[in-house]
Symmetry: C2
Subunit: 488 residues, 2 copies
């Protein structure tokens, strides 16, 4: 072979790949959600290496259909209820395809102007859709940018916070004081990881107590921690509040945390990775009270807003501070537009230099669905979760463990002993439910008022293919397996 | 609209998008390489927002064809010679398409086993192709992983180096000593950025002098800097050597730098972002002498190996050290496979938690082209660069400024005054050449033995569509414009 694929060959093989995906989506409901295999089984079935002279696309697609697909957990399966949804959709896939075909680099405005300008415009649209603060718009003092994930958004927020807390010394001098970071015990692991990456160490992260009923951060506990740290000579730099924690979708009291941030001059970052998408619905915007106090905010359209990974929407209220923290300009990137200060160069808003045209997929999703289409998607997830929670509560063997404002329901078997004594049956229930291959759930641990950590099942609804019928069937399956577990 | 795109709708629109790309690639040669427009011009032509009920794909593709495409720099254009190439290819685009369609998350082995196993296998193939050290293979002590870019690879290497230099304290205590990082004056800006992100500050980066003829790092200067820093109480942690610098593709003396790294117990990271691809050709492997001394190594298939951004191949010799530096395991990600230690969880090899199935595009590229196809691609770039350099040297108005072992030629007009006095005509030459819209070049500054920084034109060859004819036409155009500049 040894030659480049011509446009006409690409047309032919492109149709085949599109067909492959359409067929995959059509047969998804008939596949087991998860693969049941041992480590190394897939690797052992792959070729030993590339051939000397290349292979036809048909041979590669054949391996994809057999070997690779058999080794996947199907995140787009209607019975996938694990973790959080990782939505994709037809328009998003088209956007990724077009992005790949264009193959442009958007590191600077000058390296492909439309790549930057479409991103700015689409993130402004998204800020409108979520009714985010005016400061987050490009016409204001801040703006939005696509990060690969909320982990990167948290890291970037941490760096901007350190720049501010150091009065600008951090760029040159590094971490020269005992900076501290605050989140709740329920904050995402990426907050600790960002602190570690930023050179603060895990020891700099204060995991603030939560209200045992809501699992939301306690402002009084935060205030006490801030006082204690300042008294001990530490330098508080950042508060990370969460709207929709990963474990249970708890909502921190952002208005109170924002007031503390202002009082102490700290950077407030709001991590709404999963739940931010809910704010497209006016009736769910109560969950976003206080975001106008945040210096930065992020959510993942790649979780619950029908846009394939990677697409985290990250907003700052003061873009100048962020850019100052992250910019470096080597000679080979100097250009007139940058020096005139008339453009946004997104490489100064992120860790990496290079960036692709990820805004295209968001652009396609927002335009295909329209405002009402996006709202319907979110509303269906919230409604199905509410209906499931009602069904769980109506079965006296079960309890709903936490509030369920979004698409996640956390529940467990009460078990004979209650409390921690009920963990083994719940672990067994999860194992058996997942072993059916018909649905896939994950778990978490929730600490109750008495301090015991209870094993809890998580059922997250949000895949585009998931219908009322799938959720009802899932609950029926869980009930049946529970009957069998409890009979032993 | 307000409804999800069905598989059958996706099939229809997918064909349209494939056609759009095939047509775009076909008409690329007829488009101007760069857009000529003012900041904000594209944004002003986009819709004010998404509609209430959605739009058909045809309307969105129409905007793509007119507004968006007119605002792009076409990185896949045969006349694109700027920066470094950002190759993509038909098989790579198919891989990205299939990755988007599958929509799986590979953060853990358990979250989609084939996503991890294909990546491990493909990175082993790539290590074979480049003849990288045995320690970088998954069967050895290390292994490979895909990062989004070489910037992220450098950051991850910096973190692993700090973990080692601190004897493991860094995870908990953060940056608690004056750690220092060494690279040459020609090292990439991402090295300074990584040091800043890691909390060391720009001040911790020592930019070591280079040999003025080769622009390669001087080992004696590095040794002196290490001695001076240690004497002053600093703690050297990391050396970043470059194979193929961004400015001029200079090659640092890795064997000597590696010996110094061993002697001082420092982490050696080799950044071969652009030039690593050359090692698929046995006759170019001399450029990789000494890589067996490196603790980590990276190169970008998304630059010169026909795989679309983002795809950086990052290797470590000791995966245990890397994983220890970056791992965090919250309850909701606990699973049997991870706890058994039988699998690789790639989230512990990178900054972010989430990751998509990027290995697919690399898998398609390696299998479609085969070993010889990849070599032919590299060899053509190297040959064309050599031929261009010969032509430049034969025109007495010009000089070739640096060696050109790969696909980049650095050259300039000698100008009347020589030295810095010749900068303005070279700047004017670049401006006029790019203004034709027929080709696109960028520039750099090269410091000569007398300490003056000279403005130099860079012409990087490597796009799949670029043929002998395009390079000859480019050189003719440059000569014509030079005649016009020099006549004034």
């Amino acid at each position: 072979m040894a030659t480049h694929m011509t446009p006409e060959q690409f047309r032919r093989y492109g149709y085949q790949a599109v067909d492959w995906i359409a067929d995959y989506w059509s047969r998804l409901p008939s596949l087991p959600v998860t693969a049941s295999l041992e480590p190394g089984q897939i690797a052992a079935r792959l070729p030993a290496g590339p051939t000397e002279h290349g292979e036809p696309v048909e041979a590669i697609l054949a391996d994809l259909s057999t070997v690779v697909t058999e080794g996947l957990t199907h995140w787009q399966h209607p019975g996938f209820f694990g973790y959080f949804p990782a939505n994709t959709s037809g328009p998003s896939v088209l956007g990724d395809l077009l992005c790949a075909g264009l193959g442009v680099q958007g590191m600077l405005w000058a390296t492909s102007p439309a790549c930057t300008e479409v991103e700015t415009v689409v993130l402004d649209w998204l800020a409108d859709l979520l009714d985010l603060p005016a400061a987050y718009r490009s016409a204001g003092t801040g703006g939005g940018v696509i990060q690969d994930s909320a982990s990167s958004a948290t890291l970037v927020a941490t760096l901007a916070a350190l720049h501010r807390a150091s009065g600008g010394r951090w760029r040159e001098a590094g971490v020269d004081r005992r900076y501290t970071v605050y989140t709740s015990t329920q904050g995402h692991s990426s907050i600790e990881k960002a602190a570690r990456i930023a050179g603060l160490g895990n020891g700099a992260v204060r995991q603030i107590e939560v209200d045992p009923a809501t699992l939301a951060m306690r402002p009084d506990a935060l205030a006490a921690a801030l006082r204690a740290d300042v008294a001990a000579g530490a330098v508080p730099a950042l508060i990370v509040a969460t709207i929709g924690t990963t474990s249970t979708t708890a909502i921190d009291p952002v208005p109170e945390l924002g007031a503390l941030a202002r009082q102490h001059g700290l950077w407030l970052h709001v991590d709404a990775a999963y739940a931010g998408a809910a704010a497209v619905c006016p009736e769910l915007r109560w969950t976003h009270a206080g975001v106008e106090l945040a210096d930065s905010y992020c959510f993942d359209p790649h979780k619950w807003l029908l846009t394939g990974f990677d697409c985290d929407a990250f907003y700052v209220a003061d873009r100048a501070g962020l850019i100052e923290a992250l910019s470096i300009l080597p000679e080979y990137l100097r250009n007139a537009a940058t020096e005139a200060g008339a453009v946004l160069d997104y490489r100064d808003w992120q860790v990496s230099l290079g960036r692709r045209f990820r805004a295209l997929k968001l652009w396609l999703v927002l335009r295909w669905y329209g405002v009402q289409g996006l709202r319907e998607h979110i509303r269906r997830g919230v409604r199905l979760a509410a209906e499931l929670a009602t069904a769980v509560a109506a079965d006296e063997r079960f309890e709903v463990v936490t509030p369920h404002p979004f698409g996640l329901v956390c529940f467990r078997l009460r078990g004979a002993g209650g409390g921690e004594a009920a963990d083994p049956p719940n672990e067994e229930l999860l194992r058996r439910v997942n072993a059916t291959g018909r649905i896939f759930l994950t778990h978490t641990r929730v600490t109750s008022a008495d301090g015991t950590g209870r094993y809890v099942l998580r059922l997250a609804i949000g895949a585009p293919q998931t219908t009322d019928e799938h959720v009802r069937a899932a609950w029926k399956l869980i009930q049946e397996q529970a009957t069998s577990v409890l009979a032993e």
